[in-house]
Symmetry: C2
Subunit: 249 residues, 2 copies
């Protein structure tokens, strides 16, 4: 039995998210299907975390245990030959026996790409979020300083969650602006449901003046979702990188 670590890139726009669901086109479903064709076995391919419908990944990590008899390089080519064009396995490695893509994850970095102001683009409609109002970067910078660090992020997640511990640490929030396109990077030890999309919505709502820095402080202090900003659409969100302790052989 080998424990194989996969790095996976996908365009989420035609998927109902990562997680396998009957009758839906999902990333997990496509990958497990490719493994079935290759090995004849129903293997369980576990990701670092589920991504929602419409969310993309450059660096999703998954692990799968099976009796791998073909060289890793061939495995990668064989999987890519079986997979549709909107999913690519970019790396395959042997991992330690106790490695698990989800439970071993230490840090995750998400990217959110958004056009701010003007008109949304038809060409990029699946790949770039849109925010209607102009924003003041000074206010965004101020808001980032408040959100970075260890906090109770209950006010920054969707209410339909079964989680009971809302404490998370955000290591950094950075962004780069090019014309009307803002690219945010958010790195933390873990994220609550919709947390990145709400953080970016909060930064933009603070930047446009729709909410205040005081509202953001209240959201952190009280855990009340009504003080934080809007939930951005999934189309601009990318799982960029998942980091682990040294796990590959």
């Amino acid at each position: 039995m080998k424990n194989v670590k996969l790095t996976i890139e996908y365009n989420g726009s035609k998927f109902s998210g990562w997680q396998k669901q009957d009758g839906q086109r999902t990333v997990q479903g496509e990958i497990e299907n490719a493994f079935f064709v290759l090995t004849g076995q129903n293997l369980s391919v576990e990701a670092s975390g589920r991504t929602d419908k419409g969310v993309h990944a450059y660096g999703q990590i998954a692990s799968v245990k099976f009796d791998c008899k073909i060289p890793l390089k061939n495995l990668k080519y064989a999987l890519n030959n079986l997979l549709p064009a909107d999913v690519r396995v970019t790396k395959v490695e042997f991992a330690n026996d106790d490695f698990h893509a989800r439970f071993s994850a230490k840090r995750k970095t998400y990217e959110y790409v958004v056009k701010v102001g003007g008109q949304p683009s038809a060409i990029d409609c699946d790949l770039v979020g849109f925010y209607q109002y102009d924003v003041d970067k000074t206010k965004i910078d101020e808001c980032i300083k408040i959100l970075e660090g260890k906090h109770n992020f209950k006010g920054f997640c969707s209410t339909n969650t079964q989680v009971t511990n809302f404490e998370r640490e955000i290591y950094f929030i950075k962004y780069h602006k090019s014309g009307k396109i803002f690219k945010f990077s958010v790195c933390g030890n873990g994220f609550l449901y919709n947390m990145v999309r709400i953080i970016v919505g909060t930064l933009l709502d603070v930047g446009s003046g729709k909410i205040s820095i005081e509202d953001v402080k209240k959201a952190l202090k009280t855990g009340d979702r009504s003080y934080s900003g809007k939930t951005m659409e999934p189309n601009g969100l990318y799982l960029k990188k998942v980091e682990y302790e040294k796990t590959t052989k």
Copy 2:
């Protein structure tokens, strides 16, 4: 009766092309439907040319005649409110009565975006073509010089065409390379079926050495399609600009 000129941007990946067809999602169908909701009339919206399934446009031009009673700026917003996110009307203007998006067109510029070598990207799978082999730019430059100008392009179109006159003039072919991404611009007085995709395939096949400059000369001289290069996939093709004599009021 007003003659209205529309500039339209669309992502072709979820459309069965421009032209309306029963039971298919098409750009023309979506736009005519939006006009029906606005005006209560079944109007005919004519484009500068049909684009195939999967082909995109930054600057498709269409014309439509109707008794337009609302200000042009409002018409644009009203149409965009009714249209899906993958089609945007970027400009509306009143045109001269004799303007017709197709028959009045003088020059068209297409862009073809392609990743050359390496692995195709999952994220950009609908927006960027892929060519497997590395290419020699010197050979591409040499091939461009041969293709520019007025020629019989019968050897550079798909055989399922009803056209009888194959003479077209290519005003220029340019390209810009950034990393593995090549962006070709091809400008001409008109294009045969699949001509841009075959021209780009020919440039790349010459660049990679799969065919020779002599083959390209033979394709031009004999009109034999078997001498020219491959037909590139539609996903990297963009209708960028259609030019007319002065046509707007």
